[in-house]
Point group: C2
Chain length 267, copies 2
Amino acid sequence: MNTKKYRVEESGKLKLSAYKTDETGKDSEAEALARCEQRQSKLAALQERLYAEGKQSLLIVLQARDAGGKDGTVKHVLFGLNPQGVVVTSFKAPTPTELAHDFLWRVHPHTPAAGMMAVFNRSHYEDVLVTRVHGLIGEKETEARYEHIRAFEALLSSRGTRIVKLYLHVSKNEQKERLQERLDDPEKTWKFNVADLKERDLWDDYTLAYQDAMRATSSKKAPWYVIPADHKWFRNDLIGQILEETLEDMDPQFPEPDFDPAKVEIR
Amino acid sequence: MNTKKYRVEESGKLKLSAYKTDETGKDSEAEALARCEQRQSKLAALQERLYAEGKQSLLIVLQARDAGGKDGTVKHVLFGLNPQGVVVTSFKAPTPTELAHDFLWRVHPHTPAAGMMAVFNRSHYEDVLVTRVHGLIGEKETEARYEHIRAFEALLSSRGTRIVKLYLHVSKNEQKERLQERLDDPEKTWKFNVADLKERDLWDDYTLAYQDAMRATSSKKAPWYVIPADHKWFRNDLIGQILEETLEDMDPQFPEPDFDPAKVEIR
């Protein structure tokens, strides 16, 4: 699978409508599942090296519409990793205290320490999406925030943090089916939020806001990927591959000891 | 397996020497591994209910000597859980800022929110162990800290946090073998810390300090367990069972919706 195809170029020419939501690639579901299972031990080994090395870190930013598959992605793609080396932060609607600060204030403390992986389930990007769609900020403030985000991500990058940003791309119909499933299955109803229906009515506004934000903030060190996400198995396989390639490119190494292990005697 | 046998009674009569470090129970290693694998999906299902319910939380406190198996326990026992619902915090030697506060100050922010599981890899108990063994605090201060810990854990308990405290019990010889393995295996040498050898020389002092701390702080709502931990597979199986029983006893439930799902229409 060629992951480059899904990476948003820096040129700012992204057209979301050019990406299919229901793509499945060339392989069958069974093949993709087998590959995901094999990949699990590779990712765990790379994670251990990252942790042992203690120099670089990986930040995964997950954005999607409601029922777009963020929780499922966290569950499946991180399955089998050592929880000691991964911190997942879910960003909800900001509190009054958070709103009394700049929009990156609540995000910064949760960026990954050296050796760690962090996942943002929603992120600072909400502040150029939901705020914009609801008219809480105008074009000028939106542009200013893009600039703040670029600078912020450059800061993280300067300290060894690799950033991978994933937009889970689902169709309006797929969202409907998933929301309906939450209503129908008593074990999923707790995930249903009546307010989500209002956001659904703003579907096209969100499409433009996502497209615009990704155009403005995709960079070599912090690329956006558009992940076709109607089919969960394809989504998981593609994201798994992106993470594997990213970690391999980071190439973490077990550190050399600063003493001679052969000379240590344990009594 | 009867987990009660490993639970430290409130009576304060614990004798650590009465616990074997190399216990293996009645079942074979193969049987224990099979049971651990089966248990994984049960634990994941219980975790999902805990998260969905959003009322109770679970705090797992892990204490052990160096190379006692804390990291391995985190990796194996939490394997397969949803990282979104688990936060692991490793407490290192306190920083100057942390030392400028009471000893629970740095711990409190990491206690689990409702719906979450938290693991403390080392914990506030270090402040009645390493400090005591090295003579940084005397008997009076030690007793005072036990009282502070009991009150702190009662506070967490009052807010719905169940606390399970695990002491991984290994023999001095098993520690030697594990430390030697870290020296011999280049992929493990990064875990070796020369300073650990000094702590090893204080073996018996630590035994008494652990015994005393567990006697003073084991309670019905925050029990200590002595986990025979020379055999990792036995350790993992026993801890897995304790967690399963604890979560079953907490009995989290999917919440009832405060609306009628049948009346919601998605356009």
